[in-house]
C-alpha cells in the first residue's frame, strides 16, 4: 500500500472517527458549522493553489534554465519545454493542474527524478509528521507546565526564570539552536546522533515510512532505538523554540483566570490551590492555548524546513525548498496544496475542540 495512503489511515481514520462522533453528538448548529467549514476548504485550497500557480510563473527564473544550466542549448531547452507542456497556454497549464489536484494525482516532478509527486510526498510527509508531532507535544507540555507554574507563583524565581527562558528560546534562530545542540549533545557529549532519521547501516523494512511504527510492527528494536535516538535533537530543537509562546500564553491566562470571581469563591470555600489551578484556572486558561495550536501549525511547518535542513531530515520542508530553488512548478504547487490541507484540517479540529472546551461557544 502507498505510504501516503497508510499515513492517512494512521492519522486520518482516528480524526475521522472523532469528527463523526462530534458531528453526531453535536448540536445542529455545530453540524452545520462543520459542513460549512469542510465546504469552505475547497475554495480556500483552490484560491491558494491558483495564487501559487501564478506566483511560480511570475517570479524570475524558470524550470528549464534552472534544470539545464549554462550547458542547455536552445534546442535542448525547446525540447524540455515541449515535453513538459511548458509551451502550452497558461490556461491549459492551469486546467491541467486543477484537474491533477482534484484527482489527487499531482503529476510528475519536472526536475530531477521526474517521479510521480505522490511517491515523493509519500516518502517525505511521514518524516515530517514523525518530527512535528513529538515536537508539538513537547512544546505544548513544557509550555503549559512552566506557564502554569509561573502564573500560579507570580513574581517568584520560577516566574522570572520561565519568562526569561520563553523570550530567549523564542528569539533564538532555530538553525542556531540546532547546531548548538548538535555540538553539545552530538560532538562534545556523544549522547545522540546528529543527523538523519536512522543509522543507515541498520536494516529496516519500510512500510509506512513512519519509522517508529515500521520498527514496532517488524519488532526491530535495534532500529526503534536508533530512530528514537535520531529524533531527540530535532524534536528538542523544534519543541523548545515553540514552547516559549505556549509558556507565555499559559502564564498570562492563568494569572487572568486566577483573578476571576469564581476562583476567589473557590478559595473562600477552602479548596486547595492545586485543585483550583487544575479544575478552574487551567481549564479556562487552555482555551486560547488550544486556539494557538492551530495557528502554530503553519509556523511549525515553516520551522520544520530549517530543522530538517540542519538535521538532514528528509521531510516535506526540505523538499519544498529544493523544489522552489529548482523552479519545479508541479512539485511546489503540490506541496503547498498538501500544507494547506494539513493546516485546514488542524484548524477545523481546533475549532471543534474549542466548542467542546468552552460551552459558551455556540455555532
Amino acid at each position: 500500500m502507498h505510504p501516503l495512503v497508510l499515513t492517512f489511515l494512521i492519522f486520518g481514520i482516528p480524526a475521522l472517527i472523532g469528527l463523526t462522533w462530534v458531528f453526531l453528538r453535536g448540536s445542529s448548529g455545530l453540524r452545520s458549522y462543520i459542513l460549512t467549514r469542510i465546504a469552505l476548504t475547497i475554495p480556500m485550497i483552490l484560491i491558494l493553489a491558483t495564487v501559487v500557480f501564478l506566483v511560480m510563473r511570475i517570479i524570475p527564473g524558470d524550470p528549464i534554465t534552472s534544470a539545464l544550466g549554462p550547458k542547455g542549448t536552445a534546442e535542448i531547452k525547446e525540447r524540455f519545454a515541449e515535453q513538459h507542456g511548458l509551451n502550452d497556454p497558461l490556461a491549459v497549464q492551469y486546467g491541467r493542474f486543477v484537474a491533477d489536484v482534484f484527482t489527487l494525482d499531482f503529476g510528475n516532478s519536472l526536475i530531477g527524478s521526474q517521479r510521480p509527486i505522490v511517491d515523493e510526498l509519500g516518502e517525505r510527509l511521514p518524516a515530517t509528521l514523525e518530527m512535528v508531532i513529538p515536537a508539538t507535544l513537547l512544546a505544548l507540555s513544557l509550555g503549559v507546565f512552566l506557564g502554569t507554574r509561573a502564573g500560579v507563583r507570580r513574581k517568584s524565581a520560577i516566574d522570572y526564570g520561565s519568562r526569561i527562558f520563553s523570550v530567549m528560546i523564542y528569539a533564538m534562530p532555530i538553525f542556531w539552536l540546532g547546531l548548538l545542540f548538535q555540538l553539545i549533545f552530538g560532538v562534545w557529549l556523544g549522547w545522540t546522533p546528529i543527523a538523519g532519521r536512522i543509522d543507515p547501516s541498520i536494516p529496516l523494512e519500510r512500510t509506512t515510512n513512519l519509522l517508529i511504527i515500521d520498527s514496532i510492527i517488524t519488532a526491530n528494536w535495534v532500529a526503534l532505538r536508533s530512530v528514537l535516538a535520531h529524533l531527540v535533537l530535532p524534536t528538542l530543537t523544534l519543541g523548545l523554540v515553540l514552547s516559549g509562546v505556549f509558556l507565555r500564553l499559559t502564564r498570562i491566562n492563568v494569572i487572568e483566570t486566577g483573578q476571576e470571581d469564581y476562583v476567589a469563591a473557590a478559595r473562600a470555600r477552602g479548596i486547595d490551590q492545586g485543585t483550583i489551578t487544575r479544575r478552574y484556572s487551567l481549564k479556562n486558561a487552555m482555551i486560547p492555548v488550544i486556539t494557538l495550536i492551530g495557528l502554530q501549525v503553519a509556523i511549525l511547518l515553516a520551522g520544520a524546513v530549517l530543522t530538517e535542513t540542519v538535521f538532514a531530515w528528509p521531510g516535506m520542508g526540505r523538499y519544498l525548498i529544493q523544489r522552489i530553488l529548482a523552479r519545479d512548478f508541479t512539485a511546489v504547487q503540490s506541496v503547498i496544496v498538501f500544507f494547506a490541507l494539513f493546516v485546514a484540517v488542524i484548524s477545523l479540529a481546533v475549532d471543534i475542540l474549542y466548542s467542546v472546551l468552552d460551552p459558551r461557544v455556540r455555532y
Binding site: P70, T73, A74, G112, V187, V310, A312, P314
Partner: protein, 575 residues
C-alpha cells in the same frame, strides 16, 4: 574546545549567508600500451594539499565505510545523467569500455574492453573488443549486441530525458554503434575526433543492464538493486537519506576492499562537518567549503585534503553588446585582473589562479592571459581604455552581473574583488548587479542582456576541447563570438574557428598541443572569456580510512583530476 566553538560560529555565519583497482595497469607514458595509455588529460597536480597521513599503516579492509555528501542524485540512467554525483554512482556500479586509473587524469586503462580501441585509417571507425566472460551484476552475460544496444540509447532516447546528455556527448561525435560479433563493437563517427578515447571513458558510455534500463525508455530513478558492469551493486536507495552499495560478485576485476559503502545525504555542509567529527560518517566528500575544510583539518583524527581538480570560474564577456563589443574594453578587463590577489584574499591562497581557459596539466595548456596582459598591468589597461576614448573624466560604465546564491559566498566575494580591481584603473565605473540563478543563467547565456557575468565550468570529458569549444561555437554560452547558428561575429578573428577545428581532428599529441597553444593565444587576444581561478574541492576523512598507495593521489583517497571517486580503492586499518 575553542576550535569547535569557532567551527560552530563559522557554521552559523555560513547558514546566515546561505539561508579502482589496478588491474591491467601499468603507468607507462606512451600511448601505445594495450592496457594503459597516457592521454592529453591533465596531470594530477595537487594544488594546496595539506601533508597528511593518507595511507593506513596496516591496511586490512573490510567493514562498512560511510561517505557523506550534500550533492543530490538527479539521474541514474547513463543515457541521461549529467552531474558529478550521478556520474560517481554510475561509475561505481557500472564500468565503461575504458576507465581512468583512480587518482589520475592522464592514464586511461581498460574497463570492460579487452584491448585499446583501434581506429580506422580515416579515423571514422573505431573497433573495440570486449573482455571474455563478462557478466552484469545479476549474472546476465554481456555481449557486444547488448552493449551496442545499450550505448545506442545515448544516441536515440537520451533526448527524451531531462538532461538530454546525448545531444552534448553522443550525437555530435557518434553516428552509430554496431555489434560486429559477440565480443566486437564498432563505433561509426561523423568526423574524426582526437579525444574519442576520453569520450569512451565517460559515464555516458557505460552499458547499462537492460533488465533495469530498457532500450527504448529512460529510467532516471531506477529501483534497486542496480546491477551493472562495475565493482559494486546499489542495493538500497532511501531518497534524500542514503544509498547502500555492496560488492558485485560477478565483477571481472578485483573485489572492493570494504564490505559495504553507505553514502549519506546531508542538506548542508555544516551538519556533514559535525557528522565526520562525531564519526557518524567516515568521509565528508562534496561539497565542503575551504574554510570548513580547513577547520576540520585542525581537529585530531581528521584529515582534510585538497583534491587536485575542481570547476573553473571565469567572466563571460559578450562580444556583441556594448561596451564589451569594443576589443579595447575587453583587453582592459583582461589586463586589470589580479588572480593572485583573488586567490590570497578570497581563498587564503587555497585556489590556483587560472591564466588560460584550459587549466594547467591539460595538453597544450598555456598561461596565455599572463603572457599577453600581465597579471595585472594597470598601465596597459589604462592605455587600452584611452585608445577607445575613456578617461578618468569620461569613465567606462561597465555592468557586471553575478548570481549571489548559486556559487556560494566565495564566488560572490570574488566578483566584488574583481569589481574593485576594475575600478582601481580610475577609468572604469562598475555597476554591480546580482540576479537569481534561474533568470541570470538564461539571460547571460542567451547573450541578450549582460555584457559581463561570472560563470563556473566543469568538464564533461577531460580534454581541452571541452574547455574551448563551448565558449566559441553556438553562441559561446553568451560570449557571442559566434552566432547561435554558427557564423563568427564580425570583428572576431576567424582563426578561432579554424584552430578549433584543427585541434579537434589532430591525433598526433605534439601537433595537437601546438595547435592548442596557438588557439589559446588567439583566445586571449580576443578575450573570449576571462579565466579567473580553479575552485578547489576538499575531502575530509577520519584516521583509519586510507587510499590505495599503489595508485596516484592516495592522500585524496585516489581522487584525481577527473574528480572520480572509486569506492573500490577505499581501505581501512581495521580499527
Amino acid at each position: 574546545m575553542t576550535k569547535r566553538l569557532l567551527l560552530v560560529l563559522f557554521s552559523f555565519a555560513l547558514v546566515v549567508a546561505a539561508c579502482t583497482s589496478s588491474d591491467d595497469t601499468t603507468t607507462t607514458t606512451a600511448g601505445v600500451s594495450d592496457t594503459t595509455t597516457t592521454t592529453e588529460a591533465p596531470a594530477a597536480t595537487t594544488t594546496t594539499a595539506a601533508p597528511v597521513a593518507a595511507v593506513c599503516p596496516s591496511e586490512t579492509g573490510g567493514g562498512t565505510v560511510v561517505i557523506g555528501t550534500t550533492d543530490a542524485i538527479a539521474s541514474l540512467d547513463a543515457a541521461d545523467a549529467y552531474a558529478v554525483r550521478d556520474w560517481e554512482v554510475l561509475k561505481n556500479f557500472g564500468e565503461p569500455l575504458l576507465k581512468w586509473v583512480p587518482g589520475s587524469a592522464d592514464q586511461l586503462q581498460l574497463g570492460i574492453a579487452e584491448s585499446m580501441p583501434v581506429a580506422s585509417e580515416d579515423g571514422l571507425t573505431w573497433t573495440v573488443t570486449l573482455r571474455e566472460g563478462l557478466l552484469f551484476g545479476d549474472g546476465t552475460p554481456i555481449t557486444a549486441e547488448i552493449v551496442a544496444a545499450q550505448l545506442t540509447r545515448l544516441l536515440t532516447i537520451s533526448e527524451t530525458g531531462p538532461n538530454q546528455v546525448g545531444l552534448t556527448l553522443g550525437n555530435p561525435y557518434v553516428d552509430s554503434i554496431e555489434a560486429v560479433d559477440d565480443r566486437t563493437l564498432q563505433f561509426n563517427l561523423p568526423a574524426p575526433i582526437a579525444f574519442f578515447l576520453q569520450l569512451l571513458a565517460s559515464a555516458s558510455y557505460i552499458p547499462a543492464n537492460p533488465a533495469t534500463f530498457p532500450e527504448d525508455e529512460l529510467n532516471v530513478f531506477p529501483t534497486p538493486p542496480l546491477t551493472g558492469t562495475g565493482p559494486w551493486i546499489v542495493t538500497e536507495i532511501v531518497t534524500d537519506e542514503s544509498m547502500t552499495l555492496e560488492p558485485n560478485p560477478n565483477y571481472h576485476g578485483d573485489q572492493p576492499k570494504v564490505d559495504r559503502v553507505i553514502v549519506r545525504q546531508f542538506a548542508d555542509p555544516q551538519s556533514m562537518a559535525l557528522a565526520v567529527q562525531t564519526g557518524e560518517i567516515d568521509i565528508a566528500w562534496r561539497i565542503l567549503g575551504a574554510e570548513l575544510a580547513n577547520e576540520l583539518g585542525e581537529i585530531d583524527g581528521l584529515n582534510s585534503v585538497v583534491v587536485p581538480s575542481g570547476p573553473i570560474r571565469y567572466l563571460i564577456i559578450n562580444h556583441v553588446l556594448e561596451p564589451t563589443n569594443d576589443p579595447n574594453v575587453r583587453k582592459a578587463i583582461a589586463a586589470v585582473i589580479d588572480r593572485d590577489e583573488l586567490s590570497d584574499v578570497i581563498f587564503g591562497g587555497a585556489v590556483d589562479p587560472l591564466f588560460s581557459q584550459v587549466p594547467p596539466g591539460f595538453l597544450g595548456a598555456t598561461e596565455a592571459f599572463e603572457d599577453l596582459y600581465g597579471s595585472p598591468d594597470l598601465d596597459a589597461a589604462r592605455a587600452f581604455l584611452e585608445a577607445s576614448g575613456y578617461s578618468e573624466d569620461n569613465k567606462l560604465q561597465l555592468p557586471v552581473w553575478y548570481p549571489p546564491e548559486h556559487y556560494g559566498a566565495t564566488t560572490a566575494d570574488g566578483v566584488l574583488l574583481v569589481v574593485q580591481q576594475l575600478e582601481a584603473t580610475g577609468m572604469i565605473e562598475v555597476e554591480v548587479n546580482a540576479q537569481e540563478w534561474g533568470t541570470y543563467v538564461g539571460a547571460l547565456t542567451s547573450g541578450e542582456d549582460y555584457p559581463v557575468g561570472v560563470l563556473g565550468w566543469f568538464y564533461d570529458f577531460p580534454d581541452p576541447e571541452n574547455y574551448l569549444q563551448p565558449f566559441i561555437e553556438n553562441g559561446g554560452l553568451g560570449t557571442m563570438v559566434t552566432a547561435k547558428d554558427g557564423p563568427i561575429t564580425p570583428g572576431v578573428s576567424e582563426e578561432l574557428l579554424t584552430l578549433l577545428t584543427a585541434s579537434r581532428i589532430e591525433t598526433d599529441l605534439d601537433a595537437r598541443a601546438a595547435i592548442l597553444e596557438d588557439l589559446q593565444a588567439v583566445y586571449a587576444d580576443e578575450v573570449v572569456t576571462v579565466p579567473l581561478w580553479i575552485e578547489p574541492e576538499f575531502i575530509v576523512y577520519r584516521d583509519g580510512i586510507c587510499g590505495d598507495a599503489s595508485l596516484p593521489n592516495p592522500q585524496t583517497l585516489n581522487i584525481g583530476g577527473t574528480m572520480e571517486f572509486s569506492y573500490s580503492v577505499i581501505g581501512t586499518d581495521g580499527s
